[in-house]
Symmetry: D2
Subunit: 389 residues, 4 copies
């Protein structure tokens, strides 16, 4: 067995994404032949006791409560940022300036201007940088990418993608941080739509122009502190606040290559828990994918025998499929968390071997740019060219 | 058995729609207790020998080659118009002026102005008038309508509908009449989108504003007369002509009630033969429907037991379901053609009993108005209020 | 247009099957270029007023209340038998002896011995004979047959078929004729299992041996005359009778070709209305079919590209598919009743042109033989060779 | 944070199951609040270098090449047996006699007699014992169990289960250990059928009698050492050996409660990678489950509103569902490996708190007993009462 270099990770954040990233770091060397060994060196957060519990549970050796201290430690190689979105910019620039490789959760930034600053800092410092568009790393998405780049789908005509959830459909669901523009930056568009936009770019290419519409169906919600413990609903006199992010955003547009796009992100689609799905139609075939059936790919091959054509449901769990062979025998399904292991694996490879990471901060920037164009098109009631931003 | 009044139908057109309407007239009294007996009296077309063959095959007693003559015959009660779209206006107005009840295929007209003229003629003459939005009569669509009007879906947030076909994806597919603006009036939007728009209106209500985009992916095609018999493809030097209708149109919009809409119609979705599908999300539940599984309805009831909620696949074939009980026992599936029998049944009832038909020419007008708004929004690159037309 | 010979049909029975057959006769010349024209000459039943209504509704010219009289009329070419099962034998033999071509609903007979008598009568008289296994005529089933006979599925290893219904799951559902052995001959096995058995034979071949088990879950039920009108349930003191047919029968077996079979027929599968489904696995591929999605075929081709293999959902609605092109354009779905039109079309062709019909009475005999073997294996608690009967 | 007792695990085996169990031990304390902390103390195998690599990759502190030494080490609390099946009996008895808690992979033993010995040893020593029927721990299976025990499905009429794979369909696939009776004990029945049998027992109850059939479709295969590297196929003159296990086994039977069962296990179902699926029909509803869509449960509730009944597809990923809440937010899907984490969690709880584990060796015995009855019924060509063994 070869001796592998160790890479020390310092992670900022320890909630949902912190858990998912910790799991990814714990598993990457167990399932993948990475060119470095990942060490869960230090985890950083503000509430000390919760942080300590997270460190123990998720297998981090040390804790830090000052993120700047963490990001400037000599023994840290990689800074992983999954703190609330409003801190991404400052943290990413600081870490890059300290010469750390940076893995930053999406959204990279709230504005195109901010995203540009981050990209510049990362490029100037010469570090590896990656943005957390983990769904690129679903094996089915990788297969789709191969189908498109190899020309098997032919010329692309349509991309239609939807990210449907329903978790805030109850008007008494509180105004949590995800519904607060100052912290989250955006609502359904930034949280959900960003993933679809990134997949659209990854698979079909850059977007030329967009026209959108958005809605905040429930304009006022109880503040979280007004929620009563047992029912999880607000009391009558709970303090309420205006919701300042979008509950749903829908937009149409055109890719540089001429294909049409249609994207919708909503938290008001009753019955959908985490349903990111998309379909791509090309001159030689079509593909469909849904995150809730992450191991499956639907593929229509217009070149197969006449009379026997149809969408095939492919179990993307075979050794031949990207990443899948590292897990279990064919048909033994994987899940959501595996995309993050793949993401971390690729970042580790990039850091260990010096190649560019992907998706990198430029991808984060381009996604932000499209979202800003959508927002602007809504504000103006008119089409917006993405390049104009 | 009661003695029923006979209603003599005179039908203009004998191709695909003529076949479907003939079948509907032949079956309506076999499966439904209508309040009149339909007589396939006379069928009208221009090519005499083909017309005669159609008359024999489809069970029409007489033929006419002059549609005005047919529409003014004393012994004709109902004029059924399924001739090419460009003739609808003239025929409908003429028949209404002759005091005939009129069943007109969609599109009612190419422009809002034309549609208004037709509505005025029909209203002035006091005849029954219906437009051929047959998909309203799918039992599943009727059930959805009941779920919405009874409040079971709650407040509606989203309608997203797609009509996907792929029959002209081959660039050598000829420029048939459906690709000729002077005859068809419109491409994917008018042929396919119209059905989705009508269902959106039928189920969710009137549309306030729209913003669209469209594409003609293949700008030039061989003319039909240049096609070689065996291969069904054009020879090298076949005469070609510009395609002047849309291959695909996509638009977003807002209903009067505040719900968002997203609609797409395309003939370039490889793998889809006749896939009209839509989903509606409300505060209390969601529904999904696909024309290629016409007997099924997907229903999510947010009021069912926690932990056991999910989209139920309902077989809309039971006696309790609208129209379904007139056919076969539960689980014995029906198909496309049955929607036309239901449509004809309702029109016969309207004529026999004097009530208003539905969908009537006003519905045809409103659909045309929305399509015109979409076209205008594309031409202007801006949102268009439907009421402004 | 060529002048076609007319074939006069005399039909015995006018309930569910009478309706379905009438519809088939009404449509066959409308949609198929048959080599004869079908005339709905006379319909026969015992209750005169109901019969007369059926004749009018279903388009029969005359009525007869004596089936022997009907079957011996000089002007009748075809006798269609869809009276209760217990009359099939006598009627079929009588009609054959009168020189009539006979289309008999399944089951042909209750016993192998009876079935043999019928076959002998038909063969002796030289008439065309067909048994009503209409599901053979689903276009998807025809495609599967082609896949198998052309070798595309390779060597067949497995046939597993289920026919699931739930209409008698309520213990208060009355003991209708289908639950009466003297009239129906058998319960789930004869009513439902027979169709699966015939498809197994049609697609995979003859069956060698079987071992079965059956259950009558509800041993006693109210007689129909005890049912109360409104609720459709029996009153407390309604007369009850023992159920003497099987509620469910399941069996395993082996084909002559060495493939394994597994078949189940039940009326106690909650949630299933009319779900006949089967899957066939061969060395080169697999197929799946479900009657409730009659227009779809699932096909797995082990020869397609590695990594892209999966069950394709084929819309069996294209012109290239058997029978489908006679109806509507691709993607415009057909239903249950269409299988009967195809069945009648083939019988008409057989009568008009003199070839053997298929499935004929020999197929009816072989199905009966397998069912008898299953029943015997249940009675004996042992395997039974089909050939031993 | 409370201080937790540490439990040292010694694991025998390091291939597929060793990997899956290692992952489970690594994750159990990360995602579950277990009452003890699991320590991956020592891993045992015969090939030293491969073992050392496995230890490093899977996070085991020490290695052992002598399983008896491992099982008798004072510092080992739990012995985990996932060595080839033929060693299970000896190892389990030895470990139990050493006073170790034992988690043994399925099959517990090759014969009922052997299984009885193991049960006796475990019961005598008073240790906790569990057998690796991990699919019980799929959250959907747990929900189904709740539906049945709470009476929501009513009286159970049918269980039909299939475990379909296709990995040895190529006749040139070598005779690996899974096809060698002396090592594996059984073919499809023991490898796959055992899981279905255990689920049938877990959900519906004990089995009364069975009648089966089995086939070895490919009777001779190349030995693994004769396989050529690149193609993965055997050379012409590769040594070959007879296959002495079943390629497919199918059986019917009856539960003690009167319900019917139908089970099939095959490695010759082209297109199926790892498709364990079953359906249960009760008087008040039905359920369906497929391992390849492990996060989904199909539930038909006969008590829901008339006209709106259908199988609901439930995403078993919500906090309310067993185990699911320990992972990710609703709709973020889990996979195969999670069932093993749940299994290990329950065993750890059993060891930490002293309650009985489940499924325990008695469940292993009863599964073996049913399989033996099936084999015997095949050998005898007759029904076999399970209790007679």
């Amino acid at each position: 067995m070869k001796e592998l270099k160790e890479l020390n990770v310092g992670m900022i954040g320890y909630k949902f994404m912190g858990k998912a990233h910790s799991n990814a770091y714990a598993k990457v060397n167990m399932f993948f032949d990475a060119d470095a060994t990942v060490v869960r060196k230090a985890i950083c957060g503000r509430e000390e006791s919760a942080l300590r519990e997270a460190a123990q549970r998720f297998g981090w050796r040390e804790t830090e409560t000052d993120w700047k201290r963490l990001a400037s430690r000599k023994d840290i190689d990689i800074v992983d940022i999954n703190a609330p979105s409003c801190f991404h910019k400052e943290m990413a620039i600081f870490a890059a300036n300290e010469g750390k490789h940076v893995l930053c959760e999406k959204p990279l930034a709230f504005t195109t201007a901010d995203a540009r600053e981050i990209v510049e800092a990362a490029q100037k410092s010469g570090v590896r940088h990656q943005v957390g568009f983990n769904y690129r790393f679903a094996p089915a998405v990788q297969v789709i990418r191969q189908l498109i780049t190899s020309g098997r789908l032919g010329k692309i005509y349509h991309f239609r993608g939807h990210y449907l959830q329903d978790f805030i459909i109850d008007p008494e669901f509180p105004k949590v941080w995800r519904l607060d523009k100052s912290v989250a930056g955006s609502g359904a568009l930034g949280d959900l739509g960003a993933h679809v936009i990134d997949l659209a770019r990854f698979l079909v290419g850059d977007v030329k122009r967009v026209s959108g519409i958005s809605k905040t169906f429930i304009s006022e919600r109880p503040l979280p502190e007004g929620m009563t413990g047992l029912s999880g609903r607000a009391s009558q006199d709970a303090p309420r606040a205006a919701v300042d992010v979008d509950d749903a955003t829908s937009f149409i547009g055109e890719f540089e290559c001429g294909a049409l796009l249609q994207i919708e992100a909503t938290r008001f689609a009753a019955g959908h828990k985490n349903n990111l799905s998309f379909e791509i139609n090309g001159s030689k075939g079509s593909v469909r994918f849904s995150l809730e059936r992450i191991c499956e790919l639907q593929y229509f091959d217009a070149g197969s025998d006449e009379g026997l054509q149809g969408f095939a449901t492919i179990s993307v769990t075979e050794g031949i499929h990207p990443y899948a062979g590292n897990w279990w025998p064919a048909g033994h399904v994987y899940g959501y968390e595996h995309t993050l292991v793949h993401e971390v694996y690729e970042f580790v490879q990039s850091v260990a071997n010096g190649g560019a990471a992907s998706p990198d901060f430029v991808d984060g920037l381009k996604c932000t740019q499209i979202m800003e164009a959508v927002d602007l098109s809504i504000a103006r009631g008119a089409w917006v060219d993405v390049d104009s931003l």
